[in-house]
Symmetry: C2
Subunit: 214 residues, 2 copies
DNA sequence: ACCTGAACACCGTTCAAGT
DNA sequence: ACCTGAACACCGTTCAAGT
């Protein structure tokens, strides 16, 4: 039986299985994905032309497809609220598969889902009144916050090992503080980023009004 | 000739060769490192007990050993200046081998060089007057900025591909803007982080004075 | 002590089959 | 069109040699 009646595989199924696997701490591996699907490794190549690299892009697409971008361009909500929601959505989706992020960040963005995510961001920045010439820098800053925070969430729990030569570090490395580390780091970064962006806007009220004009 | 008079290998040499290789865009590979050193792959295992994983830690150690931390704890300089120097040093070192960063960030920090780097950071934050309970969050934020910015520097140049369905994104993706993207993103992030930290300090002048008392 | 070479289990990918 | 199984080049690691 070389071929079942109903197809077992599809790009979608492969991507979701791969994400599920790395989420459970397994390595990203073609044989691993195939085994999870009860299929021969070579079978995957009938569905993804680009091999391993394309599977990675499919995974990113599947990951960010979950983000609900509707309403984020609605100027009735303050842009600060929408920007924070954008960052948290992007970050929460990323943190679902922290072990996969080093994989996902390496590839160039060319899937429509991820592209649309950035398009929405630039819309928000436009409405905030941020000059277009500075928006790429802002996007880079937010990217740094999101990816850094999500990778941080993936770090092994005792991120630093105790050492009597470094008293300050040791004093801050207790487990309870570690639990809050990532969350608070993200909160601080978001507040800092919004404050910085606000300082780049000449007249906040006017920018918001501009974006509502036809 | 199974053994030359003078030793060819050492942990140092292996780490530096590995960093040089990934810096030139090659994959991180035991045979690759061995070939660059004109040696059999199995020879490396006589110098690093932990195999591939330990080589990665040796690389990080070699990378951050370059950072000059002297003077960073001197309270005569404003903490803002020293903090910015710390971030830029950490980031510049990281950005030397952007392709290696996904490798380096995955492993737990247990080498004295990297530990010392964080110890210095906490010293600066102490002198700035940041409450100890919030310093891990601040460190996480700075980590996010550094790693995110360095990884961003590694991204393929046309990070986004043009698309008529996303007019705003396409308009901002011209090459010249791309060149400035990473640098400005880091500058913004640093300004934002310092502003945020300043807002966490009850009385800046007093904190600075405190740190100079014996 | 240090390097070699053979060996093993494994991964990514291709390709000629089979249905 | 879709899955299999053999095949190839490659990687990480070990281990019995050789000096």
């Amino acid at each position: 039986m070389a071929r079942p009646k109903k197809n077992i595989l599809s790009p979608q199924i492969i991507a979701e299985t791969a994400l599920k696997l790395v989420d459970k701490g397994h390595d990203f591996t073609i044989p691993g994905i195939a085994a999870e699907l009860g299929v021969n490794p070579s079978s995957l190549y009938h569905h993804v032309n680009g091999g391993r690299a394309e599977i990675i892009k499919l995974m990113r697409r599947a990951l960010y497809e979950q983000i609900d971008l509707s309403g984020l361009t609605d100027p009735l909500l303050p842009w600060q609220v929408r920007l924070e929601y954008w960052v948290r959505s992007y970050r929460d989706a990323s943190a679902q598969v922290p072990a996969a992020l080093p994989l996902l960040v390496g590839a160039a963005v060319d899937d429509s889902v991820t592209l649309q995510m950035y398009e929405v961001l630039f819309t928000i920045l436009d409405q905030a009144g941020v000059a277009q010439g500075r928006q790429l820098a802002v996007a880079a800053m937010l990217d740094a916050i999101v990816i850094g925070s999500a990778i941080d969430a993936a770090s092994p729990d005792p991120l630093w090992s105790a050492d009597e030569e470094r008293p300050r570090l040791t004093a801050r490395a207790d487990p309870e503080a570690m639990t809050r580390r990532t969350r608070e780091g993200l909160n601080l970064a978001i507040v800092a980023a919004v404050a910085q962006i606000e300082s780049m806007v000449p007249d906040p009220g006017q920018a918001e009004a501009d974006s509502q004009r036809p």
